[in-house]
């Protein structure tokens, strides 16, 4: 890391919300309750695909404690959704997945609501279901959304029947390049549905003010999206809907899309009382917004030296019953599938496909780990086949500063070589197979710092502290502490002088939201702009007070310095209250995408990446040949963060992201059988425990960006991208075979060793060391 000259930014300072959290005083969405609240519950379908014949709520309405019952019959069939407005609050005439909401009940206790749910009579007529996205693509497959033509969609979306979104990226002449290639490799990879795994369930409380204004307290990641979605559903102007985020117990993308807020709002409206809803673990695993399962085929042509001549890829993401984040997730997979490699000829396509399973969403680096698993596994297969060291093969192909990316954009601040070399050094790459059954693997990637705008207000307090109001939610990453460090640095304050206001759509400025590795970056930039505004106003206040020119003033040590005079910011605040209604400053930020070649991209929401980051991971592990069990001894991450605003919490992002990535690599899968989830509880859905996560070493590279605060790049998502590929490649180093299906369970490894698992690429007979 570079020498850091800042006093607050770049320092390992403790997060601002630490004490409330460790003392149990921090109020989360699931903790929040209004006096006199009722409790809401949702009736969910028990079949995956069916026509609704009859729903009778008569008996339920008469049950003790029941105060409100609603079904599709009680509300307009308004459609809502993120990219495509294809969902309704309740199934109207068709059930499209097991878990589909059919009715909601509010009662005086959770038990009363649950008992009443059981009294609702549902009669259905089963329809043939589609669980496999490839089957859904086949000609003659039943259409899961007969009215898809009528759905409103974002302009970039290209749809056709069961395809909710198709995206393409292309350049050069792939067919000609394959014809001239020394070797051409083609592989197929599959990945599984993965839950975001936040420990706090999704929760919301809703109350109407007696007039026509709704307030919702929710643990959502995107309060402004909740506000507009509720406006769609309720047919109300957004300003009549106030969304407040008390506190969030983890999100990881799983709390981006609306969760239970709409049920709470509708129930509260019907009974005129506040309603609180909290999801169960079962609901989370059958009906939340998990990471899509994907099927990826990748064909790569190389020359004799292993240089990539052409790549052709196809990504199918299984959206489930509704499109959710699927079209965008499929699209972004394409940049990941190209990887940080020079690819002169490319042809990439993604398809987001409807099936009769849980509607999926966005989970940390959506599509990143899936595509990376494919491209990085295949890089190692190519290296092995050509007898080239996998690190060397990567170094021959990686992009360099000034190269063009897949959309024809010019890449800057490229650090992938340093990341790869340092990861290799740290893991001891020279000894890649230190013992029988033991091997080391490496994988690398790039990722975007998502754009979108941020606004912040600052209020200068009479004790010299500053309130920071941002519409970006603190999910736990400490991104807001990071933004506050940037702000404190700009204003010569200490970190403890910054007070972060709770997010409230009524009073906090707009923010594109806590997503996409953008929060500390974008809110930090808005803080820099707001600090400039605060300085300007503070100097004007002092100029009026002392009769001195503002243009010769500066901030130093929490004071405005004007010649011989030092006016503390606390005094500036007092003066501003006497004469100017207090001091409020405003700042905004937007990171525009770089120029690109539009002819290379079709129907892509993020055709070119802003301020990309680069990273490499390496693992050292052993494979038990008798059980297939994997034991990871060491795990190394080298990540280019541009500028480490707070190294402690960046390490926290890396350690947590790797843990989630290792879960995806080795154990996590929402297992479906005939449309039913078999492991809808936290014992059988296997997230890593403290016994499963190996020691993780973080090495931070600082190759500064032009756009981020002090040169920062996006940090939060990347750590979960490379673990599946890194583990797969280390297993291959240990065994000579790649399992091409996630999760790589012990069972799959063992069957592969016995040549009994079809989704393995076995180089044992041709392996060269």
């Amino acid at each position: 890391m570079r020498a850091n000259r800042n006093l607050v930014a770049g320092q390992r300072l403790p997060r601002l919300d630490g004490a409330p959290k460790v003392t149990g005083r921090f109020v989360y969405g699931a903790d929040f309750a209004l006096p006199g609240t009722l409790y809401g519950k949702v009736l969910r379908s028990q079949v995956p695909h069916a026509r609704i014949v009859r729903i009778d709520t008569g008996r339920a309405r008469a049950m003790p404690g029941v105060r409100a019952v609603i079904t599709a019959a009680d509300i307009p069939a308004t459609r809502f959704g993120n990219a495509i407005k294809d969902q309704t609050v309740f199934a109207t005439d068709t059930i499209r997945f097991l878990g589909h909401p059919l009715a909601a009940i509010a009662a005086t206790s959770v038990e009363a609501a649950e008992q009443a749910l059981a009294a609702i009579e549902v009669e259905v007529e089963a329809l043939p279901a589609l669980y496999d996205p490839e089957a859904a693509l086949a000609s003659g497959a039943p259409l899961l959304h007969r009215d898809w033509h009528d759905y409103v969609a974002l302009p970039f979306i290209s749809r056709d029947g069961n395809v909710a979104g198709r995206t393409r990226m292309h350049g050069g002449d792939v067919a000609a390049a394959f014809a001239q290639a020394h070797r051409v490799y083609e592989n197929r990879f599959t990945t599984a549905l993965q839950h975001a795994g936040y420990t706090e369930p999704r929760a919301a409380s809703a109350a109407w003010d007696g007039g026509d204004t709704l307030t919702v307290w929710t643990n959502a990641q995107l309060p402004f999206e909740v506000q507009t979605t509720l406006a769609d559903i309720l047919g109300m102007p957004t300003s009549r809907i106030r969304v407040i985020v008390p506190g969030v117990g983890g999100g990881f993308g799983g709390k981006l899309r609306i969760g239970v807020e709409h049920f709470a709002a509708l129930l509260a409206r019907q009974c005129g009382r506040p309603v609180k809803m909290v999801t169960t673990s079962e609901e989370e695993l059958i009906a939340a917004h998990p990471r899509q399962a994907a099927i990826i085929t990748l064909k790569t042509g190389v020359d004799r030296d292993g240089r990539i001549l052409a790549r052709q890829g196809r990504v199918i993401v299984d959206c489930g019953a509704y499109s959710g984040s699927g079209p965008g997730t499929g699209a972004v997979a394409l940049q990941c599938l190209v990887g940080p490699y020079r690819t002169p000829n490319l042809e990439m396509e993604s398809l987001a496909v409807y099936t009769n399973k849980v509607p999926s969403g966005s989970f940390r680096a959506p599509s990143g780990p899936m595509a990376n698993f494919a491209v990085e596994s295949q890089m190692d297969m190519i290296a092995d086949d050509l007898g080239i060291d996998p690190l060397e093969l990567r170094l021959r192909n990686i992009v360099r500063d000034g190269d063009t990316g897949p959309a024809g954009e010019v890449l800057r601040a490229v650090s992938i070589e340093e990341c790869l070399r340092r990861a290799a050094d740290a893991i001891g790459w020279h000894d890649r197979r230190p013992a029988p059954g033991r091997g080391k693997g490496i994988a690398c990637s790039w990722w975007m710092t998502t754009g979108g705008s941020s606004g912040v207000y600052l209020k200068l307090n009479t004790d010299g502290s500053v309130n920071l109001a941002s519409g970006a939610v603190e999910l736990g990453t400490a991104a807001l502490t990071g933004a506050a460090q940037v702000l404190a640095e700009q204003l010569t304050l200490d970190l403890e002088d910054i007070r972060i206001a709770p997010v409230d759509t009524q009073s906090t400025p707009y923010d594109y939201g806590a997503q996409g590795s953008r929060t500390a970056f974008s809110v930090g930039n808005a803080c820099i702009a707001a600090a400039e505004d605060l300085r300007r106003q503070a100097f004007a206040v002092v100029a009026r007070h002392l009769g001195l020119p503002a243009d010769e003033m500066r901030l130093q040590g929490k004071c405005v310095v004007a010649g011989e005079h030092r006016v503390p910011l606390s005094e500036v605040a007092r003066l501003s209250q006497l004469g100017g209604g207090g001091l409020i400053a405003h700042g905004t930020a937007i990171n525009p995408p770089p120029a690109y070649d539009a002819a290379r991209v079709e129907n892509h929401p993020l055709p070119v990446w802003n301020t990309p980051s680069f990273h490499a991971h390496a693992a050292d592990l052993s494979v038990d040949r008798d059980t297939g069990e994997i034991t990871i001894h060491r795990y190394v991450v080298v990540q280019d963060v541009g500028y480490a605003i707070n190294p402690t919490y960046i390490e926290g992002q890396i350690e947590g992201g790797v843990s989630q990535g290792l879960g995806q690599a080795l154990s996590e899968e929402i297992v479906y059988s005939d449309g039913r989830v078999l492991n809808a509880n936290l014992t059988d859905y296997k997230m890593p425990t403290s016994l499963d996560v190996p020691p993780i070493e973080s090495i931070l590279v600082e190759c500064p960006s032009q756009a981020g605060p002090y040169g920062a790049k996006g940090v939060g998502e990347p750590p979960c991208i490379e673990p599946p590929a890194t583990v797969a490649n280390a297993i291959a180093a240990a065994t000579g075979l790649w399992v091409t299906s996630l999760p790589i369970t012990a069972e799959k490894v063992l069957l592969s060793l016995r040549k009994e698992y079809p989704q393995a690429v076995d180089h044992r007979d041709s392996a060269r060391d």
Partner: protein
Amino acid sequence: MTRVPLTLSINGEMHELLVAPHWTLLYVLRTVIGLSGAKENCLEAECGVCTVLLDGKAVNSCILLAEQCRGRSIVTIEGLGTSGQLHPLQEAFIRHGAVQCGYCIPGMILTAKSFLDETSGRVPTRDEIREAISGTLCRCTGYQKIIDAIAAVAAETKGGT
């Protein structure tokens, strides 16, 4: 439903309550008394966020009936320390960057306290700490900094808190 009188000792205070026989300790803490430091998630003793101390031992309050706590001493995270005077574990969790979203942290800290009190008189190994907290899921941190924090307190206090 019939309610029965029950007196509970929580964080050193006696609470005289009328409870339904099926109410869990977690329900009583969060909904009846208003102590929301014990968190709610799986309600099946799979995730550990509801952990409290019962006679000094970490238990999952989501599967413990309030009635089972009659005559016993309950300590929740609110009884451990305050912002002005943090318990060494609370202070160490902040110092080591072990807190992210924080939802599992009350359970983690109380589990750690129970474990360190059990191993009082010696310094437990990292692997022992790793095993001791394995019943509490954390999705944010990868556990590393949590283990760092507990190990630091263990080293300072020779186990026991």
